[in-house]
């Protein structure tokens, strides 16, 4: 692992030109040779299925992803979602009244805008005749938004759907305690002064202690970072390995940002503030600096730290999904097909973050592809330890046989095809918006690198997971 990492790190900065990099590939090493060969001989020429509509992504955008508490801190979630929608309108020039439906994913809901999709759509100037709904499925909420769109189109209900996601972690609903809420509600109903006074006399100071949104898994009461630390330990992943992976993510993201590869980012003029043009969480550091940090969850000896975890992020994303024939009729040149997808779920205690391990072989099987067919992997990076644990689990026959009911391992993705434009660790992870970023990164990478198939996978709270195959739209 370590050697692979350093290899990629060394390799990338030296080849700034992508064209140059491709020409060098066959020469550089044998493993690359095999990978290059695989590009030419796929298990399947396309994943198009007879009697099924082809569904395409025309394009997608996202607001810059910012650390919580920075420039977006005074906004409301629908403001961010609105920015993503406006950006999409601008990027694709899609006529507003053509859009049949709008779906957004979000996790921590702002109570005032519980259907944030509708509020954002109205605010972004979409037709008030376009219905919108909001879905939630933890970190794969916008994946769910996209697959819902796919289903609507595939079943012939819609032709043009906007799917997206939004999360604003700068502000979360902090509630009065249940006791206080109960008293306030009872006060509302109280009719006489006597009743009111008797209710007020029951007031105790501890009623005022606020109720924070739980960062812990409801079923197990364990925070996700804690679970990630245990997962890393279960797979015997060292602190150094985790720090190295985090450093890789930040370095790759920095490079992608510098080279302008993160083309899905649209600038956002924040009211009363400067225009935000790029992600602000990308901070390549050094292993020495990272080693100084104390464990954030399992103290004092755990391995998960602030530096090797994804950070609290504000951001929104949106993609335009169409039936292929409709897209072509409208004169679009789509970027990619959305193909087979799966949702999985497993033990929320000990396998909370292993969704990608379970979802990857399943989606490959469903599509009739193998690991070698995939040219671009985009996995959601919740924690370094989680990614490395998933890679190890996918590479373990023992795990596949004993926990997944499979005959053999699916194999772990080659790192040179894996999250090479950075990931959630460095770009940030606004829970509800990450899914669309993963799909757009895959589509853009396939376009850029000339690959055909991409695989998106993510884990989510509740012990769930998702994977989807993205196929490049032929040029």
């Amino acid at each position: 692992m370590t050697s692979l990492l350093t290899y990629t790190l060394k390799y990338l900065p030296s080849t700034s030109q992508w064209t140059l990099r491709f020409s060098m590939r066959p020469l550089s090493c044998s493993s690359q040779l095999r990978a290059a060969a695989a590009v030419q001989a796929k298990s399947k020429r396309t994943l198009a299925k007879p009697n099924l509509r082809n569904i395409v992504v025309v394009d997608g955008v996202r607001t810059p992803f910012l650390l919580s508490g920075t420039s977006y801190k005074d906004l409301m979630p629908h403001d961010l979602a609105r920015a993503a929608l406006s950006g999409l309108l601008h990027r694709t020039s899609v006529p507003k009244d053509v859009v049949d439906y709008i779906i957004f994913g979000t996790v921590i809901q702002e109570v005032k805008t519980s259907n944030v999709a509708r509020e954002a759509a109205l605010g972004a100037g979409f037709s008030d005749r376009t219905p919108a709904h909001t879905v939630t499925m933890a970190c794969i909420s916008s994946n769910q938004a996209m697959t819902t769109a796919v289903n609507l189109i595939a079943s012939g209900q819609c032709d043009v759907v906007v799917a997206g996601g939004v999360e604003l972690m700068s502000d979360v609903p902090i509630r009065h305690s249940r006791k206080m809420r109960k008293m306030m509600l009872d006060l509302n109903k109280a009719k006489t002064l006597g009743q009111r006074l008797s209710l007020i006399s029951k007031f105790r100071l501890n009623f005022l202690s606020p109720e924070l949104p739980a960062v812990a898994e409801f079923s197990t009461n364990e925070t996700m970072g804690h679970s990630a630390d245990r997962l890393a330990a279960a797979f015997a992943i060292s602190r150094l390995e985790q720090d190295e992976y985090a450093l890789r993510s930040h370095s790759l993201a920095k490079k992608a940002q510098d080279e302008g590869l993160l083309s899905d980012v649209v600038p956002f003029k924040v009211p009363g503030k400067d225009t935000v043009t790029q992600d602000n969480g990308i901070r390549p550091s050094s292993l020495e600096q990272m080693a100084k940090l104390k464990p954030a969850f399992i103290k004092p000896y755990g391995t998960v730290t602030a530096a090797n975890s994804s950070f609290l992020t504000d951001g929104a994303s949106a993609v335009l999904i169409l039936a292929e024939e409709k897209a072509l009729a409208m004169g679009y040149k789509p970027k990619a097909y959305l193909r087979d997808f799966v949702y999985v779920s497993q033990d929320p205690k000990d396998q909370l973050l292993l969704g990608p391990t379970y979802a990857t072989p399943k989606v490959l099987e469903k599509a009739g592809l193998t690991m070698n067919d995939i040219d671009a992997f985009e996995f959601h990076e919740a924690f370094s330890g989680q990614i490395l644990a998933n890679l190890k689990a996918m590479d373990s026959d023992w795990f596949a046989q004993n926990y997944m009911g499979r005959k053999a391992k699916v194999g772990s993705p080659p790192l040179e095809k894996f999250n090479i434009w950075g990931g959630s660790l460095s770009l940030g992870h606004p829970f509800g918006a990450t899914g669309c970023r993963l799909v757009m990164a895959t589509a853009n990478r396939l376009q850029k690198e000339g690959g055909q198939y991409g695989l998106v996978a993510a884990c989510a709270a509740g012990g769930q997971g998702h994977a989807m195959i993205v196929e490049a739209y032929p040029k």
Binding site: N221, R230, A233, A236, D350, K392, N402
Partner: protein, 763 residues
């Protein structure tokens, strides 16, 4: 032991050893080969940390016996003498057990207090060396860490425990009638403070890891891991070891301090404890409470207080000496023999000697959502058994479901369960009024009213809907199972499962087999009972089986004594001071006067004059007046919601006065009253063994103590005969026989034991 210590001391003289003992040199060079020569304890060196692994062969648990002790000394001496090693980790390779305590056989093999004292002193010396070790030793605890195991752990410099449900720390010695004899009485108060130490040592309660961390009993917690590169249990131990090694290194490098930051409360407590007056008050308070609770029947708790006091007031040398001496004395007492016997018996009765059933019971159905039915449901759903609870009316069913929920919710309040686990367990329960789903039931337990025709009715109804393999179990306290089975199409599948109320608290399950009950049916019932966490005795069918049959003659005598003019309060105090947890009159109220009458009537018919004594009329008149005991609010006492002190029900006086019997002064002293009750109980128990209702004295003792509250300090009726002397009991029975008649006639087996003193129920 001595030999091994000699070897240990040899190891310090490196030069001479090289000459004398070539075999030993090899050890130093290739440690791994040395590992293979020991059976219980091995060690390997990782960097500069010795990892000492305890793993006794052919056993699920590690215990501290002679061999372990000498091997431990051997290993420690090597660790201490090696220049390469700077610290050590002590860990068990067994999942779920660090060290479960001292080897009881080692103690019971001793015949004099001096021998036991010597064992204690050897352990004390060893643990003192561990405590004073200049190379830090980290105890890595996964699973039970009890008794001697805890004493070893607290003599180490640092403790790391897994936050697993199986990880329990405790000093249960008091439950065996002894005390922590390897320095525990001296170290524990220093570590967790005197009050907490008293609580641990006097109650013997097990402490879960998170609580232990808060108390300062362990320094770090390690979370159990899920599946990864290896099975969870295996990897968790490995991870615990890895973490322990980093701490051992940190301690050796002085980067980590073994001293713990104390909280404000702790600081205040320890300050208060430094004032002699406060200490004296605490000793006094604790002693008072112990005396009140044990009624002077158990010597161990008082000695524990005494030893702790000696250590604090007169210094640790005096403390250690007193500890080892008192340990020796206690190990020789009847009480500790009785309690150890019970402990062994309990272990035996937690095994399924009938083997695994052909088909595992997954779907259970319970008929009747009353107190018993709902209780059985509660102990089933939280073990993952799918359970149908059926009753005839929605109101009765609702009450039963609420009982199950409350039982689970109480555990949430005590933090033994999370609310989520409660909900998940509760969803294993299906409440219904019909027989839907019974076609998938693997076992049906009926807990309907004790009425033979009703039981016949449900048996027929159930047999019409259940599959062929399904077991039909009857929860009855007195109706013979073969009479219930008489209407069955498949009597080999019918069995008795007699639970005790309250089901979630009482550990005993009495399983009753008829001559027709198949072995597989029995295996199935035992398997379910074990899953429900019960201690199980399997007895033959007969009126009253074993437990009810033993209780009935004693109850008959209770009524007689009341009729003779002894008040219920006096009777209660006589029985509790003999060691019964519940007074005899209170017991009648708890069981229910109607149930008592029902049983007395039924068994009286069968056993005739042997069950004579009190007059049934007393119970009948009580029932006529509605005094059914606790459930009706009035029995011998008056029960009111929220009122703790119960008052006598004065209306009983007139009943008892009208049915007064003459008391015979020469057999009515306090002691005689106690023995009249106990000897009748014991006599009937021995008769059950004689008649083959019981398979073994062990089951008889376990049944009596865990089901009926027979004084644990006596160890059960059979242990009591062994320790008290069969002759003395027969003498008493003869005396009472002369006064009252045949109900006191000693049974043949008891007479046999009396006539040949070598005969013992426990050899």
């Amino acid at each position: 032991m001595v030999a091994s210590r000699a070897v240990g001391s040899l190891s310090r003289f490196t030069a001479s050893r090289m000459l004398r003992c070539p075999g030993y040199i090899c050890r130093n060079f290739t440690r791994s080969s040395a590992l293979l020569t020991r059976t219980h304890i091995n060690y390997g060196v990782k960097g500069d940390v010795a990892v000492i692994r305890i793993n006794s062969p052919n056993s699920k648990v590690n215990t501290l016996g002679q061999e372990v002790h000498s091997e431990f000394i051997e290993v420690m001496n090597e660790v201490w003498s090696s220049n390469q090693i700077r610290s050590a980790v002590l860990i068990s390779s067994k999942p779920g057990c660090f060290i479960a305590g001292a080897d009881l056989n080692m103690l019971t093999a001793c015949t004099t207090p001096q021998e036991v004292t010597q064992i204690s002193q050897e352990a004390q010396r060893m643990f003192e060396k561990v405590e004073k070790s200049t190379k830090p030793i980290v105890a890595a605890i996964n699973g039970s860490c009890l008794g001697g195991g805890l004493e070893l752990a607290i003599s180490c410099q640092y403790r790391i425990a897994t936050k697993d449900k199986k990880t329990v720390l405790g000093s249960p010695e008091v439950l065996l009638g002894i005390l922590p004899g390897a320095g525990g009485t001296q170290r524990l108060p220093k570590m967790v403070g005197v009050p907490a130490a008293f609580d641990m040592m006097l109650t013997g309660r097990g402490i879960r890891a998170d609580r232990a961390k808060k108390m300062g009993l362990v320094d770090q917690l390690v979370e159990p891991l899920g599946p990864g590169i290896k099975p969870p249990e295996e990897r968790t131990i490995e991870y615990l070891e890895e973490v322990a090694i980093t701490f051992a290194k940190g301690l050796a490098d002085k980067k980590i301090s073994p001293k713990r930051d104390k909280g404000l409360v702790e600081k205040l407590t320890s300050y208060a404890m430094s004032i002699p007056f406060v200490r004296q008050q605490i000793y006094k308070k604790v002693e008072e409470r112990v005396r009140k609770q044990t009624k002077g029947l158990y010597p161990a708790p008082l000695k524990i207080i005494d030893v702790v006091k000696t250590g604090i007031e007169q210094g640790s040398d005096a403390g250690y000496l007193s500890e080892s001496q008192k340990f020796g004395e206690l190990a020789m007492t009847k009480e500790s023999k009785a309690l150890m016997g019970l402990y062994r018996g309990q272990t035996l009765c937690k095994k399924n000697k009938f083997g695994a059933p052909q088909k595992e019971v997954k779907q259970l159905a319970i008929l009747g959502a009353g107190l018993m039915g709902a209780g059985i449901a509660q102990v089933s759903v939280d073990k993952g058994l799918q359970t149908i609870l059926k009753d005839a009316t929605l109101a009765a069913l609702g009450r039963g479901q609420q009982q199950v929920f409350r039982g689970l919710n109480d555990k949430v309040k005590k933090k033994a369960l999370t609310s989520f686990e409660r909900d998940a367990f509760f969803s294993n329960l299906t409440g219904q009024l019909d027989y839907q789903g019974f076609e998938k039931a693997d076992m049906v337990i009926e807990a309907v009213f004790e009425d033979l025709s009703l039981k016949h009715k449900v048996l027929k109804e159930v047999e019409a809907v259940i599959p062929d393999h399904c077991v039909f179990a009857s929860n009855t306290s007195a109706l013979p199972i073969n009479e219930i089975a008489a209407v069955s199409k498949r009597p080999e599948k019918v069995i008795g499962m007699h639970y005790f109320s309250p089901v979630d608290k009482m550990q005993l399950l009495e399983i009753i087999t008829t001559q027709k009950t198949s072995k597989d049916t029995t295996a199935s019932a035992v398997e379910v009972g074990l899953k429900q966490g019960k201690v199980i005795i399997v007895v033959k069918d007969g009126p009253g089986f074993y437990t009810t049959r033993c209780l009935a003659p004693m109850m008959s005598e209770v009524i007689r004594i009341l009729q003779e003019g002894v008040g219920p309060k006096k009777l209660d105090s006589l029985t509790t001071s003999f060691g019964f947890p519940v007074g005899a009159a209170t017991l009648v109220d708890e069981v229910g006067v109607d149930v008592a009458k029902h049983v007395a009537e039924n068994l009286g018919k069968v056993f005739g004059e042997r069950f004579a004594g009190g007059s049934l009329e007393v119970l009948k008149q009580m029932i006529a007046k509605g005094f059914l005991g606790r459930k009706s609010g009035k029995g011998f006492y008056i029960y009111q919601e929220g009122v703790k002190n119960k008052n006598l029900n004065s209306d009983i006086d007139s009943i008892l006065a009208s049915l007064k019997m003459p008391s015979q002064p020469d057999v009515s002293s306090d002691e005689d009253i106690q023995y009249r009750l106990v000897t009748r109980f014991v006599n009937e128990a021995v008769l059950c063994l004689q008649e083959g209702v019981l398979a073994s004295p062990t089951e008889g003792d376990i049944g009596a103590v865990f089901g009926l509250g027979f004084p644990p300090s006596l160890g059960g009726p059979f242990r009591f005969v062994d320790l008290y002397g069969a002759q003395k009991i027969v003498d008493r029975l003869r005396k009472y026989e002369a006064a009252y008649g045949k109900q006191f006639t000693p049974c043949q087996l008891l007479v046999d034991h009396a006539s040949s003193p070598n005969k013992k129920f426990y050899q």
